[in-house]
Symmetry: C2
Subunit: 382 residues, 2 copies
């Protein structure tokens, strides 16, 4: 499969598709309606919640289904802002996804404390300890895995530090879920997830709330989700999302080592054949599926176009940042110049991606580099 943009979105898994159709055929009624067929929908909804809770290691009633990570980010941060009051501050990792940054700016305008990151975009636990020691915080926001670089944050350690100080920890696990085990995330106060990142349908996601946040209510309207999120429950997509996660959790996670090997082989091949290229956050622990490459020349948009013509779909960075001016905030936080940031392409594979796909992509990169070299009047070693 020549698609290398799984961090933007993933195709719907066959299992998720089947369940979505089944739900729309057999369990399409409104789970809040008062007859037996509707009660059956409610049971399916509860089952999906139970299964998701089991994966995360949490209680079902702490899970709230919603439309995705952007909604989750806003719901959580606006709740925390209301709880902590209008002068409260929030500590935020600079390399968060735009939806967390947007939510932080909306609910904590002018009251964001930026967490220090190292050259890999990692938030060292000491940086969290420092801001925790500096005084009251409404929350600490650090994602599980970065969508642009794949860098894994020390979220378990951060959760521990925040717990000790009694400060809510918000962890966007959108890119982690389905790629690495969900287990353990239940120990985090607030978790954010989106179905379409791991083979579920688009337009569905969930959040895990903190156990003590009993008053949490997102977009109040009907009494759905135990009163915690208004809007007719989207059982077909919720069920399909859970099935997609189950597939990742149960069948595929043991394949991680092999997938990591393929990514590393690819990186070595690229570095060997493209002088001047480098891997972003090369030495950091990263998702098995993600590699961002700083190419030696040519703007990333042109690389993407040339690779597309060769049949490979890669990205210039976060799809969510398309249309925004300026370089990636993730790369900027890591110390890259604007000029360098414009030469970074993001490559993100899926469980379906084969070793041969990675190898073919490495060859394609060399071909594109050669084309750039010829444009420039000099030939890159190939």
């Amino acid at each position: 499969m020549p698609y290398f943009d799984f961090n933007a979105t993933s195709p719907l898994l066959a299992s998720a598709r089947e369940i979505w159709l089944r739900a729309n055929d057999e369990h399409w009624q409104n789970p809040s309606s008062p007859y037996r067929d509707a009660a059956k929908v409610k049971i399916r909804l509860d089952n999906a919640r139970d299964q998701l809770a089991e994966f995360l290691g949490t209680k079902p009633d702490l899970l709230v289904f919603n439309s995705g990570a952007t909604e989750g980010s806003h719901a959580i941060l606006s709740y925390l802002a209301a709880q902590a009051g209008s002068t409260s501050r929030i500590a935020v990792n600079r390399t968060e996804h735009p939806c967390l940054l947007g939510a932080a700016r909306t609910s904590f305008s002018g009251r964001i404390v930026w967490l220090d990151t190292d050259h890999n975009g990692l938030v060292p636990p000491e940086a969290v300890s420092r801001v925790l020691a500096e005084g009251e915080l409404a929350a600490v926001v650090v994602m599980a895995a970065n969508n642009e670089t794949g860098v894994l944050q020390p979220w378990a350690k951060i959760a521990e530090l925040c717990r000790t100080r009694g400060v809510p920890y918000v962890c966007d696990a959108s890119q982690w879920l389905g790629k690495l085990p969900a287990s353990g995330l239940g120990a985090v106060d607030w978790v954010i997830g989106a179905g379409h990142k791991f083979g579920g349908p688009k337009g569905v996601g969930f959040l895990k709330r903190a156990a003590q946040a009993d008053g949490f209510r997102a977009q109040p309207g009907g009494e759905q989700e135990g009163g915690r999120r208004g809007g007719t429950e989207n059982l077909p997509s919720i069920w399909a999302m859970t099935v997609a996660l189950a597939e990742a959790e149960q069948k595929k996670v043991f394949l991680e080592t092999e997938r990591l090997t393929w990514r590393r082989e690819f990186e070595r091949a690229v570095l060997a054949s493209l002088p001047g290229a480098s891997v972003v956050a090369a030495e950091a622990e990263r998702l098995w599926n993600t590699v961002s490459v700083l190419v030696p020349q040519g703007e990333n948009h042109r690389w993407v176009t040339k690779l597309d013509k060769l049949g490979f779909q890669v990205s210039t960075g976060s799809a969510c940042a398309t249309g925004k001016e300026g370089p990636s905030h993730v790369l900027t936080a890591m110390g890259y110049t604007a000029e360098q940031a414009k030469r970074v392409i993001r490559i993100s594979s899926g469980w379906e991606t084969t070793r041969a796909d990675w190898q073919a992509l490495a060859v394609a990169l060399v071909e594109v580099a050669r084309a750039f070299g010829q444009e420039m009047g000099n030939v890159v070693k190939a």
Copy 2:
């Protein structure tokens, strides 16, 4: 089809199902991604927006796709609250759907001016004129058609009054769309719609913003929807929703008169065979699909259960209100006592419902009434 709860949710139309699958097969990429297949997704998204704009009679760039009516309500009212300032008031119809009431209470807590309604739950245009004359308002909120009674509000007239005074008008058209022509709604400043009410998928909806509300941004995150709503666009569901609306608009609307006749026949049959029964807002103009019946005896929950056993699915009122304490706010606003409100059952048909279905339901109601009568030791005339 013995399902008479279309106002709660509708089964997915075959046409919508087909498009959802096609989109997930062929156009599942992230429309914000930078390669050609993603651009094709963007084109489909634009096409869906164009088509929806045509139905409503508005400009495509005034439409924002989202997860449904509850999200739309909150997004619009929180924007209007921010625009109008912290002392601004909002005029709200008492019979709105809980999601509008929830959004009003969230964004205009303690600053809601309730609009007068008559005994049919109708907001007379004069009631709107009165509050408009009383001073500055952030907005006027009156739905197009009531979800519990089917009563049609004079939204076109209200839109005109608000336009004259330069006050934003917010109209929840969730129950109107797909049942009556969308045409004309484009003239309303702010319109709210939800796909699953008219045969589209659950978890998808849209709002129309006011032309002058250029700064409108819901859940800011990525630059999706022209920066007006963060979150990966759910093209499969958006496209399917548009197809579902197209089916209602193009194929079925001319059948309305016949459907209205069937509902009236049903009402006459019920009134003739159930002494003491009455139709809620009987003389008001109502949706062709909706009738709320005040039954002569027995609580509505018991009626629903007995009808369910006979194969008919009806509701006690808004599914979104299930779990809430107390009588329906809609019926209370109309002057019904709590005891009466507990005897109201909501019946809402779909385009698929036949005349025979309506007739069979009338017979079933008599059967249930007879069972109640026997319980009470007296037999209802049948």
